[in-house]
Subunit: 397 residues, 2 copies
Amino acid sequence: MGKYILPKGFLASGVHCGIKRFKKDLALIYSKAGCKAVGIFTKNKVRAAPLIVSKSILKKGKPIRAIIINSGNANCCTGWYGVRDAKRMISGVCDNLKLKFNNVQVSSTGIIGKRLPIDLIEEGIPKLVKSLSEKGLKSAASAILTTDKKIKVGIEKFKIGRKEATISGIVKGAGMIHPNMATMLSFIVTDAKIDKDALKVALKEACDRSFNSISIDGDMSTNDTVILLANGLANNMTIKRKTKEYKAFSKALKNVTFKLAKNIVEDGEGATKFVSVYVENAKRTRDAYRVARSVANSCLVKTSIHGENPNWGRVAATVGSSGAEGIKQNKFEIYLDGICVFKGGKFTMPSKEKFYKIYKRKNVEIAVNLNSGKKDARIWTCDLSKRYVEINSHYMT
Amino acid sequence: MGKYILPKGFLASGVHCGIKRFKKDLALIYSKAGCKAVGIFTKNKVRAAPLIVSKSILKKGKPIRAIIINSGNANCCTGWYGVRDAKRMISGVCDNLKLKFNNVQVSSTGIIGKRLPIDLIEEGIPKLVKSLSEKGLKSAASAILTTDKKIKVGIEKFKIGRKEATISGIVKGAGMIHPNMATMLSFIVTDAKIDKDALKVALKEACDRSFNSISIDGDMSTNDTVILLANGLANNMTIKRKTKEYKAFSKALKNVTFKLAKNIVEDGEGATKFVSVYVENAKRTRDAYRVARSVANSCLVKTSIHGENPNWGRVAATVGSSGAEGIKQNKFEIYLDGICVFKGGKFTMPSKEKFYKIYKRKNVEIAVNLNSGKKDARIWTCDLSKRYVEINSHYMT
């Protein structure tokens, strides 16, 4: 099965049902056994219908057996119809797989405010179910994409005692990516047997330093969803919190979300550079994030990176206007691609040779040392290109 | 004197001293009589040297007679030299105009982190002083510009009793404009005789709904300064707060700052559209501003306006993610160019004819009715164009 393996007992598929013109637009993930399931959803006050439906099903705590996802239409701001259509997607899966309503999750991404072409989806579900396969992860990963250029898959194998377990995840991202999760759908499945409480904490920890630490353009979407399913078929002793086994699970999960998050930024709309913003030695973690996000979201910083123009002044100005506490002009330092450019309130005047190496590579690094405490933060983002403006001038949500 | 008149007793000039290659880069405003002076400065924690110097002089409360301004170099992040160079600019004016150090203000805009070519400035001051003229406002207005395309001048005449008074203002803006004032210098002069306390309040009120209510790209600069001088030569009875005369003064001042702020947005880097964002019926004023700023700073909203693509979904998503209190998906309404597109949690489906008129004109309007209180806010901004990316990829601060 090579690169795109699924954990034991999971099948997946992706087909074209007609929401989009040519590309795959309907995906299914299925487990032969009931799964413990946890999810994280957007904090946007405007929420898409499938998200409302999925969240309420998760609350009931029944074992989850399947997730159905469509791309090309977000089923958001669609009023009463939206909820009904999301439920019809679930019912379609139930009919074809002999499942109960509360065993299924539903998710959508794409244009906002247009009714879902639910008939097309319902007609597509039998084919979708028939295509289910242990090799279907790649198809599913491609069926959830919108403006993404590439599929994004993360897989980790790890040991729990003598048993081997697998975590496989897929994600769609591209524009609108922002801390607190935006236009991002991620579905992660594992055959590890794990306590639900442990599963929840592991997902939160993994998201905080991955999906919640990236930013493309500072906007936050209405459909963001991360769902994690664990079917227990690895047959290990149930993992509980604060054990050695939990650590192994948590580490593997972090590796998966880390890779997926990185892939999202690399695939950011119009992105030509991958930018890591590090903030060190802040008084509080929130101050560190505040500075990191200000820098990562600054259009002026992002365009200067695009132009390979080491404009440290814009970084300094953004640090100063971030609103974080403990910022003192004479105290903080800025390093661009490892070269100190700002210290003691002024430009350090590095050699021309060094200075003109800054921002030249595909991977760019901005580090800010606040020298006022011990907390740190990291945000990944990309540059702001003319291509970004081009894509987003014309795409209808 | 036509369009560019100065109030009684004021002279101005603008010359080229060599900071920039060809364009004017040094400006002077002079009053024959001592002025009451008030100022508003950036909230950025990184502050340029001239700003530190000017602020400390203002604090002393001596009558102000002159303001010297250079463009092309911000004298920011220049350490100990920066303060000395700013003081040398003042001393140059003092020597040539027989003034004392505490009678002069200094201001700079342009590249960050490079030492000011103070010798060139000192050599230019005699010529600058010689050029002082009642007709010099236009020259001064052009000498303070950086990436601005046009000079920006606002003038109001008004009556105080039987006396006529004038308020004349100039501003430089372009990129980085943001609420709380960013890369913006404005110098406003009046011959009205007014109590200092009243002058201070009038400036704050005027700035709140003008310079502090605009946004180009969400960044905040290190040099932002508004200085208002009143020399009293109109010879009216001194204006005090809460009088009819104060109202007339305040109104005229607001008209000036209003016009200057509007000009800044119209001249925003790469701007092709002028965008007004109105938020009505919020619970608190801060919620109204929070929503208005979120919409005005959203790259996705701004690119969709650039593409004349009435993507109301992005506006709805931004309202939802603004973090303002009292946002309910089913309660707020969105109007684009006066056409209701979102109500009751969904797209209102206006006629195609109406819908495709949206965003087509140069002046675009986004109105959000939160239906949860009585407070409102307005932010002016512009679209986000490929030209913006072009300009800012290459400009060194």
